[in-house]
Symmetry: C2
Subunit: 294 residues, 2 copies
Amino acid sequence: MVAVDVGGTSIKAGVLGADGRLGPVDRTTTPPAGSDGAPVLDAVEAIVRRLSDGGRPAAVGVVVPGIVDDAAGVAVRAGNLSWRDVPLRDLLASRLGCPVAVGHDVRAGGLAEHRAGACRGARNAVFLPVGTGIAAALILDGRVFSGDGYAGEVGHVDVGHDLPCACGGHGCLEAIASAAAVARRYSAATGTPVAGSRDVAELVRRGDPAAVAVWDDALDALAYGLSLLTGVVAPSVVAIGGGMGESPELVLRPLAGRLAARLTFQRPPRLVGAELGDRAGCVGAGLLARELVA
Amino acid sequence: MVAVDVGGTSIKAGVLGADGRLGPVDRTTTPPAGSDGAPVLDAVEAIVRRLSDGGRPAAVGVVVPGIVDDAAGVAVRAGNLSWRDVPLRDLLASRLGCPVAVGHDVRAGGLAEHRAGACRGARNAVFLPVGTGIAAALILDGRVFSGDGYAGEVGHVDVGHDLPCACGGHGCLEAIASAAAVARRYSAATGTPVAGSRDVAELVRRGDPAAVAVWDDALDALAYGLSLLTGVVAPSVVAIGGGMGESPELVLRPLAGRLAARLTFQRPPRLVGAELGDRAGCVGAGLLARELVA
């Protein structure tokens, strides 16, 4: 199985072995976007051929961001990639001559965390990667729920602030609590550029007041978002992914406290760090490919 | 099949025929609550015996509010009935000598609206009765999703106001947008008691400014709640139940406009009135009973 995770900035790919483990991850820069997807399709084709040593893989799994119709294999809308209704599965299958599964990057990551990561064994769980954007994969009654491709968009629910969001709305969770928003807001508040949210986290550890303020805003908003997920779908476990999820003392513990303060009779989910890191989408892509030929 | 819907104020019951239609609905007042459920169990037993003409029904379905563990048949927590962990299914089965299905009133109503009402044919839908309280039944991938009994509590998500809620929280949707809240807030604002939200609706039709203000607050909050449901589970249809759902011009149309204003790339659900009225829970109870013996 060749597994490919197409992101807005990089394409990650690898080979999923029969044991369900992903081999070394090949990383390349995502080519400039085109609305028909051609430059990205060229890149994916080249990567798959390289990873297959010229042979034909049994199946290929490709995951992309945005709104994805998994059943039809169509990338309905992928913001960063400028795609609209690209029939990715059929285009790649005809180029590669093998079955291709197309899925959503975050839902595929959730599938991977459920099969082989932090959500293992949970009947109802959420995988919540906090990166450039925020979206959730919902595992409900043991299956990844897609909502016709539209479910899990918790990054764009209104959590009650007045900042604008790239989606065109206001008050979105993503606009205040994504890793990108944390870095951007710290830079804007202090005039000091930072490379990313990890730099802000380091400043929080050192007690930098502006970093603490930005971090607090992000945690409050994430707790709000988690309270909505808890009220609506009631996961027993939420696995936080992305750089922020890696820190128990800076993220998981304060988030659990703030979430508990927002709940009354609801069942508080256990908050844990995701386990598969930035390989989750790629592992999930491999699992989707394996389902095609199982 | 005998179907029973135990509410905080009344018990509705009827016989579900082989054609899936519910016969005349028998209504009695819910007896005073007891933590072991005994007075209510006595009442349910008497109703079932009366509706069975002294015979033994093939199966009985009973639905109750609160947190219900459908699989175990346990009423985990039913606020108005003061129940905690009442093993309703086993208690009733031993009294009645027939199989008993226990479910949640709103989820059972959602099942009924999906099988035979406003959500018919929808793969992903929400049934949202707006009554004394507010809770949602989620139909996801064609099945009612319970979240271990905790899903759909959209009445207690924070929609950004500062009013206290009976659950102990603040800002809950239910505290500003339930039929009870609308009536209570109008009475508080004007000093004029009203019997319920229908009276307030009538005043809105006549242009009463205080009624319009209370109604607007409720619609804004409901649109907020619907935007959260849309972002998280992406239903293609939302069936609004309760008295408020019956009015296209006062509820459905203004709600659709306010919801659209809150969405950007998300798929707006179609908003419709529920079709089964206050019989939905009872029809659902009958369907649950039928599944036991199918």
